[in-house]
């Protein structure tokens, strides 16, 4: 099942990590107690992949600290309904109660997302150009329009500043191929489809070090 996840194909290292994470989850989920509060779920279930404070250290798993509350709730609902497909998240969310969604969202939304470091300044500089100007030729809007200058996002637009390169790259590719299709008004599917591979890689590289506060 897991093999279907594109981002897991490349190496065996991450796959082992996922297995370990799932095993940990399995233990946590096997003994559900009625009165689990958000923090308990966060630190026993979510933390295996996303880190206790929502700052995942594994590049394929997104940092979820500081994401908009509404955005987190929507993603959890979409994972549950299958609108957003993930072999990893589906069983996890299935074991949660819908009323946990908001409290988990509030919990992680209140944490600070810690940015990473720039690997290649040249690539990041090109990414910055795309982030602020888009591509007029191909009709790629500037990311800044919705996600704000520091990548903090706004309202329905999620925080992306400081996110892992690998995760951002994969999501943009998933949007472009419509493997991910739970974006509001199909915006990201249109935008990502218009982006070149170089633009995707560069924007992701630029975003990684953005401190969106």
């Amino acid at each position: 099942m897991i093999h279907k996840d594109k981002h897991l194909k490349s190496t065996t290292g991450p796959r082992a990590l996922v297995m370990a994470a799932l095993l940990t989850l399995g233990c946590a989920l096997a003994s559900p107690s009625a009165a689990q509060d958000a923090k308990t779920i966060a630190t026993t279930v979510c933390s295996a992949c996303h880190g206790e404070d929502g700052n995942s250290v594994v590049p394929m798993f997104p940092k979820i600290a500081g994401l908009q509350e509404g955005y987190i709730v929507k993603q959890l609902r979409d994972f549950q309904s299958g609108r957003r497909k993930s072999d990893i998240m589906a069983p996890v969310v299935a074991a949660l109660k819908p009323e946990d969604f908001l409290s988990l969202a509030t919990y992680f939304s209140g944490k600070k997302l810690n940015p990473g470091a720039v690997d290649d300044k040249k690539v990041a500089d090109f990414g910055k150009m795309v982030y602020f100007d888009g591509n007029e030729e191909t009709g790629v809007p500037a990311c800044i329009g919705c996600h704000q200058p520091q990548g903090a996002g706004h309202l329905i637009y999620p925080r992306i500043g400081g996110q892992h390169v690998q995760y951002v790259t994969q999501q943009l590719k998933n949007f472009a191929s419509a493997d991910r299709s739970n974006d509001v008004s199909r915006f990201m599917r249109v935008v990502a489809k218009r982006m070149s591979e170089e633009e995707i890689d560069s924007v992701a590289a630029y975003l990684a070090s953005l401190d969106s506060k």
């Binding site: 888009g134 009709g139 809007p141 500037a142 800044i144 329009g145 919705c146 309202l155 008004s185 199909r186």
Partner: protein, 218 residues
Amino acid sequence: MKKLLTLLIMLTLWPALGSAQVAPWNEIKGELKIALETKGDAVRGEAAFESCQGCHRKDASGRVSGAYPRLSGQHATVLMKQIADIRSGQRSNPKMEPFIGDHVLTPYEIADIAIYLNGLPISTTIGKGPGTGVAKGKQLYEKDCAVCHGAMGEGNAAKFFPMVASQHYRYLLREVQFIRDGDRRNSNPDMVSVIKPYTSSDLEAVADYISQLASSQK
């Protein structure tokens, strides 16, 4: 069976298609009518405009390159008509269409966005023409264009004539070429026939002159 059905439908429609009157370019109907009759809300408009900022910029100044027009301060009626025309396909704009289709905006939000943009201060960072065509452009503009678009390029809200002053040169040039060549299908036919005989250098001169009007405003 399917073929037969198609044939039947076509036969039924044939007379209607043959005698169909082309709707006037400025007919007020459908969602344009709804938007015009809606009391737009600038606060809601600001929120709805957020997904437009990636191209038109936060201050709606557009791009100096002309890739995207300046929208700030434009007549609300003009904005509503252009959005409605793009949605209906009357004006072709494949870059923009996915971001303003009816899966994105309601006709009421069209009114909100239009009112919001109309209330923004007219941008001052405007892409100017080379300045070499100004004399010839002034002549042409005053002879052919001013009667609708106004001596100062202010346009006419009631008649859906856009404010052309403070618009980017490259955008003006692209659109007048589209209009002359019949590529902007929602154009006023009167304008099309007026600029039909214009050479490319005439169009450049007019766009050049209009783009300089910006500086004389305010």
